[in-house]
Symmetry: C2
Subunit: 335 residues, 2 copies
């Protein structure tokens, strides 16, 4: 297991962060493999597919870094990191069914290969398997934070589902959805790191809020990418959210900024689900004109700023510097 270099450099790149923690992340991979061991071939196939699918293991990395910021040097962060990734994979399996997605990270989705039924059940399986191994740590704080994150994720998805039928939702309603569906698990990963690192309640709360704001920033950046990234760059196709009538921040901003006629027109299109590629490019043009994508990026950057403020109470260390690099990477990737 790499201990991380004791000498703190002035600044790090994301590549250097990957290099420094490579050995740890490889151990997370081994843990994931070990956890997947099942005598049911379909379970092994689908979990291999979803967990081999090129995920960057950002949540395990954050957990490891938060543990190390608190001075943790043992190995439980790697096992817990792998379990967070299980929960994350479970949500992806269900998300792809809900979004009827055929592509994720440039690969066919599990539901495309094995069908919706298998994907729903494998989501249930990965989640419950993760919970089994989490409770085996016999740490009540960890149980609380992770079960609470799972509840919030489910609640966030339900709020999102309700929001799709009412595009008049406010920005603060939307941010609550994002906090629940994306922020909660990132926050939980950071807090679990703090817990096993023996952090004080104050430090635990600081790292929780670091993760929460980071998760929100990440989701907003992702919302923006839906209107800018091409299939080859992000591994999914342009405008998926919009074409499914999913209201995210760029569209919310546009609805608040455009003319009355434009707004009526967009709302009607969303309501009737009569959305084609032509509409998408028209919407992107309007977003350009009204600065909706710049606004989304600015909000995302604000959340990164709010996130990193929570790191101030911690002493300077490689892990702390790596956290700010990862934070920046999460919202600037793939542009």
């Amino acid at each position: 297991m790499a201990k991380g270099p004791p000498v703190v450099q002035n600044s790090l790149t994301m590549q250097e962060v990957w290099d420094i923690y490579r050995e740890n992340l490889e151990e997370v991979e081994s843990q994931i493999r070990r956890n997947l061991d099942s005598d049911v071939p379909l379970i092994t196939q689908i979990s291999d597919h979803i967990l081999d699918g090129g995920g960057k293991r950002i949540r395990p990395l954050l957990l490891i870094l938060c543990a190390r910021v608190c001075g943790y040097v043992h190995k439980n962060d790697l096992i817990l990191g792998s379990l967070i990734e299980f929960i994350h994979a479970a949500t992806l399996l269900h998300d792809d069914v809900l979004d009827e997605a055929d592509l994720r990270r440039g690969q066919q989705t599990a539901r495309r290969i094995w069908g919706n039924h298998a994907s729903i059940l494998m989501g249930d399986y990965l989640y419950s398997k993760a919970m089994c191994q989490i409770v085996a740590f016999q740490n009540h704080e960890i149980n609380d934070v992770l079960s609470d994150a799972c509840r919030k994720m489910a609640e966030g998805e339900i709020l999102q589902l309700c929001a799709n039928d009412q595009p008049r939702l406010t920005e603060s309603d939307y941010l609550r959805i994002v906090e629940y569906k994306t922020g909660a698990l990132v926050a939980a990963a950071c807090k679990v790191g703090a817990i096993i690192g023996g952090a004080s309640p104050y430090q635990q709360a600081a790292l929780y809020h670091f993760g929460l704001h980071l998760g929100i920033a990440f989701q907003l950046a992702d919302d923006r990418l839906d209107y800018t990234a091409s299939g080859s760059r992000l591994g999914k196709t342009l405008g998926q959210d919009f074409l499914q009538g999913m209201v995210t921040l760029p569209l919310l901003h546009l609805l608040q900024s455009c003319s009355y006629e434009e707004r009526l027109n967009i709302l009607r299109q969303i309501k009737t689900r009569a959305l084609g590629e032509g509409d998408l490019y028209h919407i992107i043009g309007l977003m350009d004109h009204h600065g909706s994508l710049q606004y989304t990026m600015a909000r995302s950057q604000e959340y990164i700023g709010a996130a990193t403020l929570n790191l101030e109470p911690f002493e300077d260390s490689t892990a702390k510097r790596a956290l700010t690099v990862v934070a920046d990477y999460m919202v600037t990737r793939d542009r």
Copy 2:
């Protein structure tokens, strides 16, 4: 809270069991209501629907009875009973999506009213909400048994999905599926009762196995009802399992007992999913001829026998007698 009568009667009817534990079960209902409290209207609506849908609260009742067999007199059994019911409701929501079911207990299913998306998410929500409240008890044994039951249920459903494509599965393969998908949660309910009742590891194991065998017996009885119950009697339509190509014990027995030509014919029908009502009545006729439904009932009764053997180490009490009555009720209901 009813304490249950101190005088043990010679024999009880199921109606008397309901009467004796009515107050306790009403408290379980109140707990369910309290747990459902959410400021998201859709969550309240769907949970009300699924949890008001006429379920008999058999699992909470078993938990209460097992706790009392071990001498437990406090109130945690009622709260934990309500949480087991949450988990059960979560599985029903996902099951109905997987089975494309329109009716459950004579009512429209949630997926029929609110759609598959809402049902999948509400299943995730109820399950994770239950886990939040379970871990709040801070009892590692309870965490272990309930998270393990959830994992087994998901694994059982995946095994069932795989089995649907290979109707040559053996009876013992099938019984493993049933043990996981239905036995595990009933067993867990009984063991949780034993744990809070302060039972010895030996007694805990006895009540776990009581529940496990009971759950298997219940599922086999249910498999049989699929070929005998009419819509109005069981609240679901005849032959649902068969029409979906789901292989259960009556069909497995038939495949092992019928002629070579009949077997080829049935296997072809299942494989091509070319199943109509005419085929169903033909199959039921064959099952009659080969005694497949009687065989399934006999196997179910055997499991009840095996279940009740596990009660022997416990002293005579109203709760113990009630357990045998409930066991009998679970496999003889609705005939």
